[in-house]
Symmetry: C3
Subunit: 174 residues, 3 copies
């Protein structure tokens, strides 16, 4: 089994200033460790809600750290300093609108304000980037909504082969 | 309770030429008056389906009139002169694709041609802009589909606090 | 009944190199022949997964061949050489996100990896362009998901009037 490198970028003015602890990053790591059998290496970045810092962080995780999967948390809402989505669009060559649609559809089962999340996903070279909201509670429901498609997506972009015994994981027969 | 200023922009060649009466604008006002308890001030604009006029109208409602919420009606379809969505994208700094997804999903329960509507929503500074279709019949179903998220969205962008006794209105506990 | 010209563009490196037969194009033709009563003329293009060739192909079908409806197959996924969606966005003046949302929602009933498809639709002058995935199996479910809106969409952009006895076809009363 190949090693998989996974980047986790938390964008939060308050968490990066030490005002509170980042709980979303560890929640993402725990979720993925439970479902992926490959040896995993996690790279963490914690940055304030600044477009250029998030953009550089994402580029670093993809290009220097060689992360095949980069998951962000925070910065998906309508507020002025919510700019993680913009940074993601800047670094990706292709956007995958189906991820945002699916995550919002699932979140709508819990809260009507799910339509305020602009979260999306996209491809940069051989990396898949996925935005998650900042609230730790939403991490699980959003990752759960899309995890079944992550291994096949990595196959299609030439990233390492993910082994999982999660029965929801789907790869079409060719 | 703070006063809330609300802009209503109707884009329609025929209504602006006096060929028929604008019924959608008043339907929007009636819907919002029923659900918002704050004192409301409405600013109306009725313009032909011209990109630059709609764009200037939206800027005027946000920047000069100080409207916290701007609702458009008309110009969301696939026809050449349907350009309200384009004007909205030009004036907004952030788009909120979840609004269009939700409104189309709800309209699909009534008509399959709901997929032809390109309606969206977005943020310009401290204003939330929402596109509605031109047909008065659709006004109610579309506003009903998203109203629950409008007060919290205004909170997030620093606009006045909306008081409503509509039980669908949702603000997450912080 | 007016003649309707329909373009079918298959983008596939392997099919265009003769490695396998294009089965998706004929599946699209069969689907449309069954549902449209007008006399139909089909124009086929089979091109490799090259952005400029797909773009030129779409322009040719719309502008030179006068196709009112152009359906593509292939090139909608996340892989590097999946560029049909990009070509479609380059040639269209208006995008219709509701088509992609609806087709993904329907495909999700069959496979969770439907969120990986970036397929969309848009308008170029008096032509409606719709992306379908490359797999022949998906052709039917995706066209079925949106066919009810195609005739009215062509009405709105000034294309010929489609006659159909498919009961799902919907035109709102004016």
């Amino acid at each position: 089994m190949e090693h998989i490198r996974i980047g986790i970028l938390t964008s939060s003015d308050r968490a990066s200033a030490g005002v509170y602890e980042d709980k979303s990053g560890p929640a993402i790591e725990a979720f993925l460790k439970e479902r992926i059998k490959n040896p995993l290496e996690f790279c963490y970045l914690l940055v304030p809600d600044e477009l250029s810092l998030i953009q550089q962080g994402l580029e670093h995780l993809c290009d220097k750290e060689g992360c095949s999967l980069v998951v962000t948390t925070g910065g998906t809402g309508p507020a002025l300093r919510d700019v993680t989505v913009e940074a993601t669009e800047l670094v990706c060559q292709k956007m995958l609108p189906g991820f945002g649609e699916k995550m919002r559809a699932v979140s709508l089962q819990y809260v009507p304000t799910a339509i305020l999340s602009r979260q999306t996903a996209g491809i940069r070279n051989q990396s898949l980037l996925i935005n998650l909201p900042g609230k730790p509670k939403s991490i699980h429901e959003c990752l759960e909504a899309v995890f079944s498609s992550i291994p096949y997506c990595l196959d299609l972009i030439g990233a390492p082969y993910i082994q999982s015994d999660d029965p929801s994981v789907f790869r079409p027969k060719t």
